[in-house]
Amino acid sequence: MPRETIATFEIRRLSVLNEEGKADESLMPPLSDDEIWRMYQAMVLTRTYDERAVALQREGRIGTYPPVMGQEAAQVGTALAMSPSDWLFPSFREMGVHLTLGYPIHQLLQYWTGDERAQKVPPGFNFFPFCVAVSSQIPQAVGAAMAVRYRKDPVAVLTFFGDGATSKGDFHEAMNMAGVFRLPIVFICQNNQWAISVPLKGQTASASLAQKAVAYGFDGVQVDGNDVFAVYSAASEALEKARSGGGPTFIECLTYRMADHTTADDAGRYRSPEDVASWRAKDPVLRLERFLESRGRWTAGKGSEVKTWATGMIDEAVQQMEAIPPPGAAELFDGTLDTLTVRQESERKGR
């Protein structure tokens, strides 16, 4: 028996809507015109929110902020595939999910002002707070999925992270654990091809991120992350599979970070304008507009109606956010423990 082949693997890529806005009908997910329109609204809302947040930071009205521009499809497409009982363990760059699902917008902005209280996720959302320590939310999501399995709940767990996160030990340990116990979880990697200044090829030598799932014995698929239909169908399929006991799925959404890493970053130091420009043509919002236009459902007029609606929503959220009184020193202590320690009590009084 010579060098026998013991296993072969194929990594596949799903793409439905091309850059010209043409959809491959054979792969088109079953979405009504209204649902597609809601997708479009959510993407415009996300884009509008993001532009405003960057402006607010420049004006010093909020703190450092991580733009999502260019990644709207990956977020909106996934959000619309979720069911209300599913759990979400986000990183910090998928606010499009929150916006799509009706999360209080002023609270998203409040978080970026550096206000603890914005981390209290409102009832009705099974969301963890944003997680800044890259990849550390992933094992926590896997733990929730273990609890789901133990409780036999009809629930899927979803966690978001970036390409950089795939280099962390916690990503690996969590993926491996999910594979061993065939847990009801979907791993969504927004591969925006940058981790601050480190490009994908400096992050890993693997040709795709989807193939990393091979190491854990479950499916990994790459989708065009700027194609909201591809994201939606891959996410729907994976979430359904998770809820029906089919185990975990890893989805690589291949997209691009159009803006700086955060408002504190200057991407001009490490990447070329050409590089960025080449991705403008792939803009997920533009692409969906073209699709809708080809179906006679989008006009410049309709587009600006949606933009006006979105702007109104954000205006109102900004007002609410800025009406929030600053936190008091007591907030330092509240929620640290169910019952404060003697020392904490005395420190609290001293303030």
Partner: protein, 320 residues
Amino acid sequence: MAQLNMVQAINQALAQEMARDDRVVLLGEDVGRDGGVFRVTEGLQERFGPERVIDTPLSESAIMGCAVGMAAYGLRPVPEIQFMGFAYSAFEQLFAHAARLRSRSRGRFSCPLVVRTPYGGGIKAPELHEESTEALFCQAPGLKVVIPSGPYHAKGLLLASLRDPDPVLFLEPTRLYRMVKEEVPEGDYLVELGRARVARPGGAVTVIAWGSMLERVLKSVEGFDAEVIDLLTVNPIDFETVLNSVKKTGRVVVVHEAVKTCGLGAEIAATIAEEGILHLRGPILRVTAPDVPVPLAKLMDQYLPSSRQIQAALEEVLKY
């Protein structure tokens, strides 16, 4: 009442709480089929099944991180780290996540988990199997740290930990696992967290210890008018009990297994120097391991505080 050693007492507490509360789930390396490398979880997988007593892959950080997610979902996970030295690779999940989840979610989520891990020196095991770095974890607001000194307290403290609404690091002194047997009530009882106990009353000097050093201290103080305090919970520390004793004795010796620098003795001495100094007659002495890495078996006796060192410290403070 039965005579149980600490392994049996902990096993009984786990079994009884699992029977009482189906939210309690165990996970870790070799905790199931094998019953744990010290047999602490023996028989629990047979009784409660592999989905409640979970043999995990070799992944300390994921074990801890999963426990955080399980707790947030509504379970009461009991992750085991096979030896305390391997908790270092789970440090981020314990220190920055488990301890902070209630705070960083402003109470939307809590993290009622109990991390169990064998702790301390004196069992002739390989490197990183005999660490006693409890002070690292006492610096995490939001995390309680509990260290029993015998079977009776082990059961009552563990039951209290399993019912605590916040995360608890439960450190099990391996040297004591099978050293002593005590009367351990069959039934349900709690030893309150955050309360120290006077293990031996006395008037001339206060000796503060916990875990496996308590036994050594109790042996060493014979013939001295020493009041021995067993902290039981090392975070938060019951300074009320400590300071009441210091008021009486005016002399203090702290004994612990860990290195001296930034060991827990530092916090105890500092708080006494802050709140009880006017009662002090002389220096607060710390009898600890030296500032060196935990050695292998052959040097362990020279590393751990000895009776001779404890007695020398007592004689020293009694000069004042």
